[in-house]
Structures are given as C-alpha cells and as structure tokens.
C-alpha cells in the first residue's frame, strides 16, 4: 500500500516533467531551424532581387538561402488548397516574392541587428521572424517548470509526513522490543536500523512503481498516437525519460524514505526512552 502511495504521489510531478521535457526538446529543435522570411515589394525589379540575394549571401549569420518567386508560391498554394483562380475569384497573384533564410546563430542581438539591416535594403517590404513564438513557448515551459517544482516540493513534504507517520506507528508497535534492546545495551543506530531499512524499501518500491507508471504512460500514449497518425497526418511520439532520470527518481524516492524514516524513528524513540 505504501509503495503505491509513494509511487502515485511521485508520478504526478514526474509525469509533468516528462511532458515538459518533451515540449522543451521539440522547442529546442525548432529553434535550431528557425527562419526569417523576407517578403519583397510587388513592383521590385530583377536587379533589386539579385542585389538582395548577393547581400544575403555575404552575410555571415545566414546559413541557407531559399528564394521563392511569387509565381511558384502562388502555384504551390493553389495546389495545396486544390483550388483554381476561378474557384476563389482572384485573377491576380496576391503573393509577393520572398527569401526564406535559415540562420546559423541563436543570438537575439545578432538576429535583431540582421533584421534591422535587411529592412534598410531597398525592395524589402516585410520581415517575419518565425522563431518569435518559440520564445513564448520557452517562457511558458519555464513557468510550468516552476509550477512543477513547487508541486513536487509540496508532494515530497506530503510523502515525508506519510512515511514518517507510518514509521512512528511502527516504533509504537515495536515499543517493547525497543525498550528491552535499549536496556540491554543497544545503540541508537542499532535500533534505528530496521526502521531506516523500512523507509529505504518504501522509497525503492515507490520509485520503481513511479518509473513503471511513467513507462506505461509513454507506451500507451505512443500506441494511441500511432493509431491516429493517419488522422493527424503527423506522428506525435512521447519520448520517455533517460535511464539517468529514472535512476534519479528512484534515488530521490529512496532518499525521501531514508530521511523521513530516520527522523521519525529518532523522534519517536526519544519519546519512548522517557518511559523506562
């Protein structure tokens, strides 16, 4: 019973951490592939386009340049939407020519400077930094992490109280044994030992249940996601925590068991000693 209580209690913040870690990994990946879209003015000449292309190629912050003429962009859009110009009632191509560049820097300062420089080039109409929402996502992840940390701390306190109370009740059950052992020369560490082992076993069992539950959640989620892949059009997979993370969860549970049982046993045995 105690294993299940510890397991489930630790599962709540751990599952939150699992989700946050997955979102964080995705956001990191996206940020590395962040692009800047440069939309050109409609009446731009080919010379100006060549000049912008050259300017972009000379920039050290740019990793990859892709030029998309408005005609191709328009065709792609139509084919994607499976519509013809007649269907939507537009006779003229509304899209501008555009450069889509991938940066080789993540520095906000450098990105800002580059955007400002690009805005000064004649023929550039609008610049969109595709990675701006990443910042918001990261801020949300950070806030969620703080929330999870607070929740985790509260749950750890709850666990300490639950384990401590169980150990305290056990010391009362073994009251006679403790008193007799004390009278015939048992040291405090000898008397504390079985209670500390109990706390450690509680932690170990609870930690294993937490790891098992997390693995089951990942397995079940990925199974369901695989089934709905054809509907969603994309495969969404939940990546489980690393072996080190799982080990940390088990060790954390054991540490909670160890400390709560040690302090509860010490406190309770001190009270019992007065009844010699």
């Amino acid at each position: 019973m105690m294993f299940v209580i510890i397991g489930i209690t630790l599962c709540l913040p751990s599952a939150g951490y699992l989700i946050v870690e997955n979102v964080r990994q995705i956001s990191t990946k996206i940020q590395h592939e962040a692009e800047i879209s440069i939309f050109l003015k409609k009446d731009i000449s080919q010379d100006q386009i060549d000049f912008i292309d050259l300017a972009l190629k000379n920039s050290s912050e740019i990793k990859k340049i892709h030029y998309e003429p408005k005609l191709i962009a328009w065709e792609k859009l139509q084919s994607k939407l499976k519509l013809s110009t007649l269907d939507i009632g537009i006779s003229e191509n509304p899209l501008p020519d555009g450069f889509f560049i991938t940066l080789n820097t993540l520095s906000n300062v450098k990105i800002k400077k580059l955007t400002e420089d690009l805005k000064l080039i004649s023929g550039v109409d609008n610049i969109v930094i595709d990675g701006s929402w990443i910042k918001k996502l990261r801020a949300i992840i950070y806030m969620v992490k703080i929330g999870l940390f607070s929740l985790g701390t509260l749950l750890v306190i709850v666990l300490i109280v639950i384990i401590g109370n169980t150990i305290r009740l056990q010391t009362l059950t073994y009251q006679n044994e403790i008193l007799v052992s004390k009278l015939i020369g048992a040291t405090n560490s000898f008397i504390h030992r079985p209670f500390i082992y109990t706390g450690l076993i509680y932690g170990l069992g609870g930690g294993i249940i937490t790891v098992g539950t997390l693995k089951s959640i990942v397995f079940a989620f990925n199974n369901v996601a695989e089934k709905y892949e054809y509907i969603l059009g994309n495969s969404i997979t939940l990546v489980g925590l690393s072996a080190v993370d799982y080990l940390i969860i088990v060790l954390l549970a054991m540490t909670i068991g160890l400390f709560s049982s040690f302090f509860a046993a010490r406190q309770s045995i001190k009270k019992l000693e007065k009844s010699y």
Partner: protein, 225 residues
Amino acid sequence: MIKFDKVFKKYPNEMDVLQDINLEISSGELVFVTGPSGAGKSTLLKLMSAVEKPTNGSIIFENTNLSELRNKDMPFLRRKFGMIFQDHKLLYDRNCFENVVLPLEINDISPTDSARRVRAALNKVGLLSKEKVNPITLSGGEQQRLAIARAIVSRPSILIADEPTGNLDKGYADEIMNIFYSFQQVGVTVIVSCHELPQSPIKFKQIHLIKGQISNSDKYVPLLS
C-alpha cells in the same frame, strides 16, 4: 567493582528517591538489596546499571564514573551487565531462541557462535527443549528463567535482578535463586533486589533501604547465612 559515593537521586517534581547512598560492591559478591515498596530499590539498580544517572554524587564502575558518562557511551557500558526484571520484559512476538539471541545480535556476534551460546544459556536454565516455543506459553518461573538466559548469554561480569521472584510462588522462587547462587559460585557478581531477605546457602551482603536511605546500622554489612 562498583562504588557509590554520596549519591542522591531525585526525579522532577518528586522528593529525593535516594539520599546519601554510600556503598561498595566487590567483584564476585552476592548482594541482596532489600526494603519495602517505594524504598528506592529499583532506582538503586537503575543507577548501578547506568539506566539512570544520579542527581548528585558519583558512581564508579571499573574506574568509570557513571555520572560523567556520555549518553552515546551508555549502551556499551550496559552490555557489561546482565539485566533481569520482575516483569521479565520478554518479547512475545519471538520464540525463546530469538529472545535469548537479542543481546548477541546487539554485540554483533556471528550467527554460528550466537546459536552455540544461546543453546548453552538455555541449557543452563533448563529450557533447551523449548527454544522454538513462544514465551507466552511458558509458566511464570520458566519465563523468568528465560529472562536469566537472555541476561547471561553475553557472559556479563555482573547480573542485576530487580525483584526476579516478586511474581513467583516459593517453589519457582527457590529455583530462580538457585540459578543466581550457581552464577555467583563461578565468579559472577550477582545483585538481587527483593522485599525480604531470602534463605541463602552461601555468603552474601545485604543493603537494606528505607525511604531512600541505607538503613543498616553501619550502612554496609556483610552477612553470613
């Protein structure tokens, strides 16, 4: 071996339980601590066995002043005593063997050696055939013999018994006292508290307490039966 020098013991919000106790017990002696209920016999034994510390005065045991002993050293000193209590203080969730082996577990003796010593102790008190039995099924006399086996298994140099025959009828009481006499004969110091002086076939000393004070005329009188 044990020397009390101007020892006083007072519990919080109570009068002095023991007052101005001066006594000396040599190695290998048989000592009876007698007196009526509330005279301070149990407190005297608790002070001797380092279960309690005196309020004033000094208790010297083998060159160690028990009054100045640090709490963490107390358990190691207690291992030198074999303690027997009126209510036996046996563990009824363990069998006889497991009860007797407890002091050896505390002393970290190997299981093989422990088993040999436990059986020897049970044999000494005539309970070898009942090693697997739960003590709750034993008679009062047998339970007290089991408590003696637990006290002697770690081969202490002193046996301290607090009213060991208090709840027993005369036949069982004599049986228990005979076990104590046999230990005294092999050089163990035996200190026994009781209401009345038993008929002892061997030489003994008496410390008679009344209202926390030694009432023997010279406060320490060796007697012969």
